[in-house]
Each structure stands twice: as structure tokens, then as C-alpha cells.
Subunit: 168 residues, 2 copies
Amino acid sequence: MKERFYKIGEVSELLNIEQHTLRYLENSLKIKIRRDERGDRLYTDSDIDTLRLVLKLKEKGLNTTAIRLALENVEEEPPPPVPETVPKGPLVNFEFVEAVSLVRQVSEQNEEIIRQNKLLEERLRLLEEKLDRYSRERDATLNELIQLLKTEGAESKSKSWLSRLRGK
Amino acid sequence: MKERFYKIGEVSELLNIEQHTLRYLENSLKIKIRRDERGDRLYTDSDIDTLRLVLKLKEKGLNTTAIRLALENVEEEPPPPVPETVPKGPLVNFEFVEAVSLVRQVSEQNEEIIRQNKLLEERLRLLEEKLDRYSRERDATLNELIQLLKTEGAESKSKSWLSRLRGK
DNA sequence: GTCTACCTGATAATAACTTATGAAGTGGGG
DNA sequence: CCCCACTTCATAAGTTATTATCAGGTAGAC
């Protein structure tokens, strides 16, 4: 648990970065580094990890702003596994929180609409089926009628089918 | 469901960006924009949304790479329903970028739902029309038939209407 | 006292990124 | 035929970001 501190010279060698670059990063990224009584920087292992990350992101081509943003969302979040509710970090990350909650909200609405759509869809399907059945029935009925007319009509037995029709 | 397309000139005015800047963004961000037969760019509403987002991120100071990253996490998965929980960080806990991408995702989903809704509505309208037509037709036909049966059938002049029916 | 390792602030030199312009060409309309 | 609104490719110009250097200082070690 003994915290180990590195001076800028060591870090510089360790990470192969010029000291002035380290100072530059510290400023531009607004990274806070401890100081001793004399004002000399004291880098912790964690700081070095952060720097390694920064270097990686830089390689990827992210600019200072993006890296700073990324760090903001990292620094304080390693402990909590998956934050059930909207993450904290209220100090810096107002917009982030906002975005997340917005997403939640919209997502919920979306789900609701999707549910309703499903219901609608089902109703629609039933209706279509019904209509289909109806039209088929109608065809059948008419065909039947026509058949009757053709056969029985030819025999002049009009009475019979007429009454049958009326009976219905 | 009618997709509306904008030419670069319109988009330029709409978003207040020079056309060459739009082309630059397209290249640097590797955004894909549809073209017509002549090669002219056709921007969809979704494209414009994307551009708005890009502009916002630019204002925040993110560089091309960062924005591209943010967009990438989005473009890929439009179909997946609603992410139940906010996904965990991939490479580096880059939650902000993810949030942004989530927003895009969700709003895309939103559009999709709206599209589906419109489709459903259209189907419903067609069905109603169809149903109307059918029932009117059916009534008409049956009435006609019944009329025939009542009048002519009663006079035993089956031949005449039967042949008429056959003539049809 | 001189070295070494650090600090700050300012400035210079580069590199990278964005935006603006120009040239040359296409196709639709009036 | 010319104008308009596009296209591409290339290049210039303008901005920012990053890296390097220099100057002037402090404190501990030998």
C-alpha cells in the first residue's frame, strides 16, 4: 500500500516523452498531479496509467478535447460495475448525464410505441384474415347461387331455390 | 414513408455550412451519402441529423477522429431493439462517445418506429377501403340478385335472367 | 561554488486540421 | 447557347495544436 511517487524525469524516461510534453499534457488535459513541498511533480502509478491511456488515445488520433472527455468519464468510474441509475460525476459531466437520461426516456417511449404497434399489427392481421374469409365466403356463396341457377334454373324449378334463398 | 432528399445546396443553406465544407466532412468522416444517376449527393433527413450531431460535436471541440469514432458506434446497429441497459465500455470506458452513439441509435430506432407506424396506418386505410368496397359490392350484387329473384322469379321467367346472368 | 533536477512563462518552429478558391467538366432548362 | 447547380481534383490560406527552446529561478548534494 506504500504509495510510490515518480518525478517527472523518471516518468519521462519511463514513457519516453519529453518533460515539456508531460507538462504540456498536464495543462491541456487539465490533469492534476501532486506536488511536493518544493513544487516538484509527484506522479503516482495511477497517473502513469492515465498517461499511458492518453498516449494510446493520442495514437488513435483523438485530440485533446476528446481525450479530456474520455478521461472525465473514466477517472471516477472504475469501481462501480454497472451503475443501475444514471451515473454520477455531477461536477463535470452534466451533459453526459443529461444525454443518458434522455436516451432512457426516449427508449422507454419507444418501447411503449413498439408494444402498441404490435397490438395494432395483431388487430390488423385479424382484420385482414377476416376480410379474406368474408370475401372467400362471398365468392363461395355466389358460386353456389350461380350453380343453383345454372342447374336448377335450367329445369325451371325456380320456386325451390327461391324459397330456399328466402328461407335463409 | 416518402423519403425526402436534399441536394447539397439545400443542406448548405439549411445547416449554414459551405458546400465544400459538407464535402470535406463527408470525406474526413467517411460518411456515406447517396447519389443520383448524375452523381449529385442526395441527403436524407437522417443524414442531416447526423450532420447536426457532427456540428455539435465539432463545437465541443472534438476532432474528426473522435467524431468518426462516435458515429461508428452507431451506424452499425440500427436493427437491434432497445438496449435494455446502457452497454458497458468497449476499449476504454469511452462512455461519452457511447452515450452520443446511443442517442443516435435510439433516435434512429425512433424513426424506424415511425416509419412502421405509417406503414401500419397505410395498411389499415387500405383495409378499410377494401372492406368498404367489398361490402358495398356485395350488397349491390345481392340486392340485384334478390331483386331479380323477387320480380322475375315470381313470374317464372327464369330463362330471361338466367341467360342474362350467363351473359355476364 | 557548481551540478543536477526541477519549476514557470514566453516564444519559436512544426505539424495537423479546416476552410476557401480555382480549374475543368456534366446535364437540365429556358 | 448560356446559366445554374452540381462534380472532382488540386492547391492555397487560415487556424489550432503540439513540440521544442530559451530565460530566469529554487533547492539539495558534493
